[in-house]
Structures are given as C-alpha cells and as structure tokens.
Assembly symmetry: C2
Homo-oligomer: 334 residues x 2
Amino acid sequence: MQSRYFTLIDYPEGTPARELFDLRTRELPELGDGEIRVRNTWLSVDPYMRGRMSGVKTYVDPFIAGEPLEGAAVGEVIESRNTRLPAGTRVSHMAGWRDVAQLPGDAVHPLPELDVPDSAFLGVLGMPGMTAWTGLNRIAAMREGDNVLVSAAAGAVGSLAVQLARARGGKGKVVGIAGAPEKLEWLASLGVEPVSYRGKDAGELAADLHKACPEGFDVVYENVGGACLEAALDNLRIGARIAICGLIDSYNATAPAPGPSNLAKLLFNRARMEGFIVTDHWDHYPHFLTTVGPLVAGGEITYRETVEEGLEATPDAFLKLFDGSNTGKMLVKL
Amino acid sequence: MQSRYFTLIDYPEGTPARELFDLRTRELPELGDGEIRVRNTWLSVDPYMRGRMSGVKTYVDPFIAGEPLEGAAVGEVIESRNTRLPAGTRVSHMAGWRDVAQLPGDAVHPLPELDVPDSAFLGVLGMPGMTAWTGLNRIAAMREGDNVLVSAAAGAVGSLAVQLARARGGKGKVVGIAGAPEKLEWLASLGVEPVSYRGKDAGELAADLHKACPEGFDVVYENVGGACLEAALDNLRIGARIAICGLIDSYNATAPAPGPSNLAKLLFNRARMEGFIVTDHWDHYPHFLTTVGPLVAGGEITYRETVEEGLEATPDAFLKLFDGSNTGKMLVKL
C-alpha cells in the first residue's frame, strides 16, 4: 500500500515558499506486530509547525527535510495488527500531512465518546482547545470576575479562550483582538468586546484597548506578540498574569524584531508573564475533556473551522495561517 | 528648630541635572502630641527614587516639586512627645534628604537589636537587602542547586542577592554581572563568577554568560534590563524564573528603548518573568531580619558601602547611582 505525504525540500527563511513543500509517494512496509494503518480524514495545520521548519531545535524537534512532515490528524483504522484497535476505530495521532499513516498502536488515541464531529478533536477539543484551557487556567490562573484580553481571538486557540473566559462568570470583561470585520462581528456575537488591530501601531491599539476596558486586564492570553503584547502591557491591572501561548508575529521574521519597550509595566503592576508549551500539561487532557467536552457537545461553546479540501491543499492551508485568512481552526479535509 | 532639606525645583527629563536639587531651610512647627524630632545620621539614596522624580504616578506617588524629597534614613530621637520613643532612641524612617525630621511616632521604627552598624539598616538589612531576599525567595522561588544570575551584582541589592544565592547551598553556580574591575574582583572574592558587561552588546554578553554557566540559569535576578535582560533570556534553563527588581538601564531614558528581541525564549523554556515591588511584601520583613540579620552580624554575609559626607552631597550621591560608580550601598553620612 502507498502513502502520499508532504515533505520539505529545504528549510525556509522568512515566509515559506509554496515550492518548498513537495508531495511524494512511498510504499508502506508490511504491518508489524501491534501496528495499524490509518486512512486520515482530517489534517490539522498549526502555527507552531513553523518553528519545526527551521532545522533548529526549539521546544520540539525540527522537521527533517525529505521526511514526511508531521502534525495532528484524525482518521479511521483500515488495517490492524493490534487487538485494541480493530479496523473501523476512529483515532487521533500526530502523523498528519499524509493520506495514509502507518503507526504503532500506542502512537494513536481512539476518539473519545462525545457527540461532536471528528474534526473537533483537532480543534476545540484537541490541542488548540487544550492550549486555550491550559493557558487561562493553569498558567494565568484566571479567576471569576477577571478582565481578560485575548489576541488572535478569532483563531483556533483564541476563539476558545474568549469563550472559556466568558463562561467563567463574574462581571469581568472579555476583550478580543482580531483584524477582519467578519471576525470582529463573530467575536461580538459571542459576547466578546472586539478590538481591531488593523492599521494601528502599539500606541493606538493600547488606546483602543483602554477604551474597551478602562480598568485594565487581569489576564492576558497572548498569541501574537509585537504590537499586541506592547499594547497589552500598557493596559495591565496590578497583579496581572500574561500567558504567552505563541508569538506568531515573529515566526516568519528573518531578523530579530525589537521587543516591547514597556516591560517596566511588569514592574509597576507586579505582573507576571509566563511562556508555556501545552504538551507539558498533557496529563490534564482528560480533565479538560470532561470539563469542556460537554460544553461543546451541548452547543454552549461554539467553534468555527476554515476547511481546505484535499491533501494537495495542505501547504496552502498552512500558509494561510500567517495572513490572517482563517477564522477558527484551519483544517484540511481528505 | 530648623530643618535643612533638599527639594526638586522641577521634574527632570533624562538624567537629572544637579541644579534641579535645591537645598532649603524651614522652621519646624511645634512638636505635636505623639510626635518626635529625629537628627538623621545616615541618608539612603536609591535608584527607585528616579521614578518618583517624573511627576507621574508609577507604583509610588511622585515627589512634589518644592516639598522635601523623601527616602530611607536612620537617626536618633532628639525631642519627643511620644512615650514609646524617648530621646536617644535610634530609629529608621522615610524622611530622608534632610538633617532633622519631624514625624509622628508611628512613622518610625526603632532599630532592631543586632550587633551591626546603624547604616546596615539602610542597606543589607534594610530595603535593599529585603528586596534581594524577596526577589530570590518569594518571586523566583530559588531552590537549592539552582544556577543563579544577578545583574548589577555589586550594587546594594545585587551584592546581597549573590551572597544569598551562594548561601543557599547545592552545586548551583552563581554568576554576577558588573562593570568595574574592582567590582568583578570583589564578586570573585565572594565565590561568585563575575562577568563584565563593559563594551559588549547583548549577543557578546550572552556568549560570555554561556561560558560562565553553559547549563543556563534557573533563576535570574534582574536589576538592569537592556542588554543584560536580553543576554539572560538567551541563557535560560527550562522552567526558569526571572524576578524583575529594577530596570535601571531605562530610568533616565527620554524615549522608549526597544525591549529584548528574544522574548520567545520565555516560550521555548516555559519560563516566567515577574515584576515585584518590595513594599508589597513588607509583612515578611521580620522573617527576613531573623534569617539574614544573624548572617550579617556573624560576618557570613558581607557588604560594602560607598559613603558621601554631608547633607550637601546627597544629590551627588544619588546621581552616582546611574554611572556605576558605587560599590554596594550608596549612603550619605551626616
């Protein structure tokens, strides 16, 4: 049996060129004992993958040029030499960017029994959702009544973060930063105060955040960095906690960009800024799933997906993450 | 009775001009019930005072132009209408920058019974010492064996921080950043690995910190900001804690200076950076005093003072804080 997969032919500098992604085919070896073959139905593309394309170790191992790219995926077992995972089992795993994956059984997880579409386990109930939940609760220690700011608030992670903040209760405000008018409208429909970053420098964005929440923020969920972080630092309350989930603003930068000029606000406000990597917290995934899963199944937490069709579209879907054209989770449907 | 005091005639921009500090005399009112008069013997000058000279509220109220400047001081009660504080009592208080202070009794603290010179209560056993102890223990949660980096390591706060880190035990390294050769020698004599920042950009300083401690740092005690902070961020271990005590590098800046370009290191290293203000932690001062006081009295923790003589020299002593010319605590002896 053959597998079609994407690989990098070289490590990109700056925004990756589409031509660096090469679609190849390889013959799969015979199934070993305990192994399974999965026909992927959904592939995930995520901003953190850019960090794995630099050929240098950051917090995850780099992708190897010439080898299949990796990423979250869900699919159905089509052949099995593993009694725990008979053919027909729906599973999630990390062998994305390909149509058929061959894996040891312990590298996949059967999808939990929840009345949600399979694709939800790549987004709102998968790594992005777990990331939002972890940053708010385990890093920023969000409390009832906190004023919460989320950047990239209409993205896969941010859109769950704003809803979890809304669901937390209390009189706290939830403000979300996004760009496109339809994203801002969607945020407003979720009960989130939307603020556009478009055409604004850090000072102008800071002024608009102040208008949206004059008291300042207790919790900042930072996905972007750059002007968003600088504007957030200008709007902290005493004792604020900033969870640094991502800094997508800099992922394609070819030269180091200066950081925020107002770090002294951490001092004045006795504020904390902390980076985290969701995989460190994965032992809390079952707790996340029992907490957030029913809210998604019951429709109390909604989510959007931007879907590209067909394996061939995977690199294009990935590249769209960096121009702000996705709302909610960016996925590829096979 | 008269009091001679310094006041600001205007709020400085950038490095304060010496001429902005004006020595004036005022007649003290009659002693009210519960009040005392203190003849100051030692005055403290500290970097944080610069923040109070801007006419804007940061975390402390601004100094008021025309009114006496304030700051830590020790002295002796010379007149008293307070039975708790008879003449001859040695006290510490915040009415510095003057020779005679008139105060309500509850605004002063009798000096603790410890076999140390009075001036120690303005430095190693006063606010600077408490600041070092708080940052390491209560903010950065220093543990035995941690590798610790301290910037401005020969200053009033830094020199206690490096010694507390040394005293903590374990095999952890303690690295201190300073400039002048005699400061670097002093640090070495304390068992601290000294690194000079002079003539280096952030990249060069980062390389030297890596040489001094190739494993990276678990705890960073940051007094400076600028290149020191950027170099520290490049040398973090997983789970590092950065206590932001001060950012003296920027206190006299007239325009915002860009922040560190490598904040993503917080993310890769799941690291935390937290600002603090020692006054928030003052209820722990008795604990600090019983822990660190005996170490100072017994000579296990040493300290240096840079002393200027006479009330007239107070502004000069203050301004020297910003050109790196003091070793240890900067004081004025009256």
